[in-house]
Symmetry: C3
Subunit: 342 residues, 3 copies
């Protein structure tokens, strides 16, 4: 499995990181993490350079980690500050450290070359800071599927008609074409379904029953963050693209963490412009999303198994695949660029 390393990836919700040492696997790297005495989340390589015991099996002493086997002790920069029973500390006694950023209750780790990291690149949406919008942390979906297939699913509006017929899609959208556009590191795929019966999600969340205009904009921020902007408005409003805030508008944000080949975590957040203080609605939206995401999980895990079988023929590509095709090409270009820069 190949990854884009020079990027910020989600290690977890802020609430997951406290005094205790915890371990995380991301891009096949193993990290030990904790929140230091100043409140900053620390991430180090989870492997003692001596006998390779993961440091997460050790204990925290102040802002240092003591290995659980022979007591080698490391500070927050990964430098070894003590080797019990030895007079001096070898230069090779260190572990890698990682840059960490925290924003909107989410902890991000830079997995690549630290000289290339820019905290401005940590993902954010303007609505997350806007009091007119409600931002709600959903859950973490663990998928036995590789991250490319999971991300591809998030730049693919066509699947909702067939995978999520009771929640996010309907027959009305089955044959509607898609538009694709790439702007820098963001791939956008979208379509409008005009004058159609509202989908299950907006019947509940928006209270619609008569026909609506409905939009789906899928923005995939390379490498691994997807923002699905979808909403509905009564047909009579004749809502235009730039007027989406006037309808019932929801952002489903998917923060993918490739764990290893065949395993991905999708942490998701939703943002809305209606009933922003209504926690019951947030909970109900969680429920509806969980139904839909369990449907994605079943599909993606079955594909993972199928792809691991011998293949008789190359898969075919069809019209709706433009988003995924662009995504695959761009990811591969990023991976190649990193490999060539070494």
């Amino acid at each position: 499995m190949d990854y884009v390393f020079n990027a910020w990836y989600v290690a977890g919700w802020s609430s997951e990181f406290g005094q205790q040492l915890c371990s995380r696997e991301m891009l096949e790297q193993h990290l030990v993490m904790f929140r230091d005495s100043k409140g900053q989340v620390v991430a180090l390589e989870d492997r003692c350079p001596h006998r390779q015991l993961p440091l997460s099996h050790g204990k925290r002493i102040g802002d240092q980690i003591q290995c659980g086997y022979h007591g080698l002790t490391f500070d927050c920069s990964g430098r070894c500050v003590r080797v019990p029973g030895a007079d001096n500390i070898p230069k090779t006694a260190y572990v890698d450290d990682y840059l960490v950023q925290e924003a909107h209750g989410i902890v991000w780790v830079w997995m690549g070359d630290k000289t290339l990291a820019d905290t401005k690149d940590v993902f954010s949406l303007p609505q997350m800071n806007d009091p007119n919008w409600c931002t709600h942390h959903g859950g973490a979906l663990h998928l036995k599927a590789n991250y490319l297939n999971v991300a591809e699913n998030l730049v693919d509006p066509a699947h909702v008609s067939f995978v999520h017929p009771t929640t996010l899609g309907s027959e009305a959208s089955e044959d509607i074409g898609i538009n694709t556009e790439t702007d820098g590191e963001v791939i956008t795929v979208w379509r409008w379904i005009k004058n159609a019966s509202p989908i299950g999600f907006f019947r509940e969340v928006g209270g619609f029953s008569a026909n609506v205009d409905r939009w789906h904009y899928y923005h995939l921020h390379l490498p691994c963050t997807a923002v699905i902007d979808f909403g509905s408005a009564v047909v009579a409003r004749n809502l235009q693209e730039h007027e989406r805030d006037q309808g019932v508008r929801v952002f489903a944000v998917h923060l993918l963490t490739p764990v290893r080949a065949g395993y991905t975590i999708d942490r998701w957040v939703h943002i809305r412009n209606i009933a922003i203080d209504d926690e019951t609605l947030s909970d109900r939206m969680d429920e509806l999303f969980k139904i839909a995401f369990a449907e994605d999980k079943a599909i993606l895990e079955a594909i993972e198994e199928a792809e691991n079988r011998p293949q008789k023929r190359r898969p075919i590509r069809i019209a709706i695949d433009r988003g995924p095709i662009v995504f695959r090409r761009r990811i591969q270009a990023l991976i190649d660029a990193e490999l060539n820069s070494h």
Copy 2:
């Protein structure tokens, strides 16, 4: 694992195939199957040519299957008849279809070159159509063992003395030699045990207590169907080979499906010439066979594990191995012939 593809293999009992899509693995091929509106069982390659989702995750619409990911739809011949969102259907949008035959409540699939299939080759015994005989579907034994070892066990009368001492064998037969004969695609191995105490099975099923003459004829129909003709008669009758119908005669038919390397399903049927309307007897025979087949399973699964270890020395061959040796040689010849014909 190598297989003979040009043959009919059992996919299941007729009762397993209805309106619902179901999946089967046979010879490492994955099939989606259902019974169409005319009652015919359909078998297609279980893999959408687009994103490789198994079609068994989709849904049936009339006699077509709609893929559960993007709605590509296939008819019973495997031809794609719809690609949602696209103006035309690529020529490569198809899945393989398989020939299916149903007989005596058993569904058979031809796994190889369709031009070589002949429905006359679907296995049958004359007794299955004979009102003087009772044919009873037993069960399906799943074995973590390769099909060659399972089949070998079914052309090997010598093992019953040691593996099935309470049901199908006894000490009396331990040292009795075997006869072997090959006629076309059928290998027959047999022996008579004259004037010996009845085995457990015939004490119950035949009501014998005094000494009997007992026969075991193992007919292995290449590649994977075994008919074990065994029976007993009181010694005074001095029954000859051609008079077996005059004794208590039972056929245990084993229909092997090689699923993948190290996994085989053995569906079994029994046929008898006594008490043909007595369902209690059928049930009791099932119980006795289940005891015996569990003994085979334990042996065959232990051998599977042992064969996967490094081998210090080549296995030895002994007198009773003639049936298995002929079987292995014939199977290998069939596999080689198929490979050379490509």
Copy 3:
């Protein structure tokens, strides 16, 4: 995984071997074992030379084993004495036999070249035969870890301060250097911790509360037996090395059996010079050792996983590693010598 084959290894406690056939895996070899009519434990290769069924699936007939598949029968030397249905017995019909020794309630098997075996090399400590000492069989710790890492842990006094802080170690010993000495096939690593608070184990077992002098001598008998001689005495006694019997002295003996790569059994025995008739104390010592050995198991299994990941850098070595370094070098020399002698 490489092993030293020319050595005695533990197959189990004497009580594990009775009339029934049982199977053991040692050094990736599979053995069938039982106690014969004279009380001698027998060990044979657990694989019928005919169809490779493990003989442990067969049955014992007198002092012979009959294979559970076709009845081939083997005597205690591994020679085949019967092939049912055959007139003669092939020369290649045999299984390997192993030398077995039993001492102090422990059954040892010689895994290598029988011409090199010497029963005098079966491990023993003088205290095991001494009525002034209590020898107690502890338990069997199963570790998902390779035997080299397990053995290394047993020639490494430094880890106890960090892995066993409540039982066998304490902060007082964290920075105390170690001494290493090799004498023939025994590597000894030791240190004294003078005038320090007693460790948890000796508070309970020795009844100490004031400061003590404490010693740890780790004797690793190549390849796989470790004797940990540790004890305490009140400081005022000013106990010398040769006077250890005058303190509270305990031997923890670890008998390692490498099962296969990544799997090791550590059977342990403890021996003491106080309260030798007090079974309650034996039980309490078992409990304390179980706490400590569970801590080792957690560490060693985590290292096993970590070592199986791709390694970015070579592990570093530090001052306390002298025992493990000598051990690794000596084991490798023994393995190389065996390979070169073939």
